[in-house]
């Protein structure tokens, strides 16, 4: 039976697997069903984790998302992140398992580990996929990842001529789906290795200059575009931040505002920023460059406000408001204060 391996990242601070692991296992489970209906192929899904130990809750959740097997590569030195050590540990696992497909999270760690692993295996790697499916090409089952390119102006579906077929996927791209009746088996590999002494983490400091925006649990996102920053003025950006604060929403912005140094990059949504899956997204003066769209198009309800009725964002939204976004920000702030 062929295997889909998921490289799962252990979060040592919270002693759990990051959500992206479950997102990838869920997607692999969907792919497994697709392969079966396309050509009757049967895949086994293996979630592979480098850590010192793995809480039972994480293992069970991985099963519920569709993992047939959870493999823990065990060593205490994994608590200090080292891309060289972890890449080699995964290679050791791979040698005995020969997975046909490997999926990696496109996180800070995943981005350092995945290309190392695929370079060692002398195979291809498709970065930041937003779509994953199987196709039949020349009578063969192929993994067909799709990714945005050219500043997201173009989507490309990329196939691998070599095995394993590998891809990285950003957090919040796919949804977690759990099934209570699914179960799997757990195995542990005691992996002995030395740290890589060529690299040392001397200190970790908190950078308070930039408040980091974690969009993973955001229910409502209010996004500022160039339309609220005429003449590179911060007034309405600050008003929108205040509005977001008042209603408990996350403030976000487009790339242009970061380029003009009006907002910190931590708030940027889009291909070179964060990806969000909020219940409600409201774009204030956002024109809708594709690099931005691909970071927010999975939000459930998209409301776009722009005075230019030809703004591209209107092709992607559920609710369209052709009006000056700044005026609406003022009106919203006024009515919030009236409510109180």
């Amino acid at each position: 039976m062929e295997k889909i391996a998921i490289y799962c990242e252990f979060d040592y601070n919270n002693r759990t697997l990051g959500d992206v692991s479950y997102e990838l296992i869920s997607k692999a489970f969907e792919l497994k069903g697709q392969a079966n209906s396309l050509c009757g192929a049967d895949f086994e899904i293996e979630a592979v984790v480098c850590a010192d130990e793995l809480p039972t809750e994480c293992i069970k959740k991985a099963y519920r998302c569709g993992a047939n097997k959870v493999v823990l590569i065990k060593n205490r030195i994994f608590n200090v992140f080292s891309q060289t050590v972890m890449a080699n540990a995964f290679i050791e696992y791979y040698k005995h398992n020969n997975s046909r497909i490997i999926l990696f999270p496109a996180t800070f760690q995943g981005r350092l580990i995945a290309p190392r692993i695929t370079t060692i295996l002398d195979t291809g790697l498709v970065a930041d996929c937003t779509g994953l499916e199987f196709i039949i090409k020349d009578r063969e089952l192929k993994l067909a990842p799709t990714r945005p390119t050219f500043g997201s102006e173009l989507m490309a579906t990329i196939l691998s001529k070599k095995l394993p077929e590998c891809a990285t996927i950003r957090p919040n791209t796919f949804k977690i789906k759990e099934y209570e009746n699914l179960n799997g088996e757990f195995s542990e590999i005691d992996y002995f290795t030395y740290p890589d002494y060529r690299m040392k983490l001397l200190k970790t400091l908190v950078d308070d200059k930039e408040d980091i925006s974690d969009f993973s649990n955001a229910k409502i996102v209010l996004c500022a575009g160039l339309g609220v920053a005429n003449n590179k003025n911060k007034e309405y950006i600050e008003k929108l931040q205040k509005l977001a604060h008042l209603i408990g929403a996350k403030f976000a912005c487009t790339r242009k505002l970061v380029d003009f140094d009006l907002v910190s990059r931590a708030n940027q949504i889009g291909q070179t920023g964060s990806t969000v899956q909020a219940d409600i997204y409201v774009g204030f003066g956002v024109s809708g460059a594709l690099q931005h769209i691909c970071g927010m198009k999975n939000c459930k309800t998209i409301i776009a406000i722009n005075k230019d009725e030809n703004a591209p964002i209107f092709d992607y939204c559920d609710y369209k408001v052709v009006y000056d976004a700044k005026t609406i920000i003022d009106q919203l702030l006024t009515s919030l204060f009236d409510n109180e």
């Binding site: 002398d122 050219f150 173009l154």
Partner: protein, 259 residues
Amino acid sequence: MNIVVCVKQVPDVDDIKWTKENNLDRSQMLSKINPCDEWALDYAIKIKKSKSVDNVVITVLSMGPNQAEETLRYCIAKGADRAILLSDKFFAASDTLITAKILSCAIKKFIPDFDLIITGQFALDGDTAQVPVSIAQLLNLVDANHIVDVYKIDKNQTLVAQKIDNTIRMVELQNPCLFSVKKECDKTYVPKIDDYIRAQGAAVEKYGANDLEIQKEDVGIIGSPTVVYRSFRPTIEKDTVEITENYSKTILDFLLKDK
């Protein structure tokens, strides 16, 4: 100290032109140095000017068509000492693995005594951030990404600031090493007319597959493990509802629905 800076000439993605058939019209697009790569060069120049290490020689290395020579001349105007262009029709359409192999091969051959490789975090056009990591693996180096500052450097070690979300990690790398930058350097040199004149007269070394002793079938579209199966402009069919009155009231209802 020998510093290698890898640079790429990229189309300006903010100025994309399309043909009638909905393909990218590259002939109509302007090219420029990939912004992160220019910052990488700025860091190299900063190290050179800091005098914390002796005899710094900065080599800029690029793979691309002949026009990329322009980008390399710009790098010389900024302060690079040596420029190498890897250009060959067989290199065209190389994916990230093959690009990393070609660059690593050139580094081994033409800059074998390098101490440091600096790259940009990602390229504007492809945006995979994979080539630097692959180079590090192929040359057996330690690497760090998301670099926002170089604190200290000597012949044996490089101390860098790596920014991950809201934390700064101070990482010490043993040379030779590789790091990729994602933030502008605090010191950037803007070339003056004299610099451009000097750069026009400077030599740009050019090498192809034969010079690198690379087999044609191992590179380019044939040698690359990945292949573009199809490309398309994304379209979405949505039933958009236009709100035509009581804008702020309607929006507020959405925002306060769960409250």
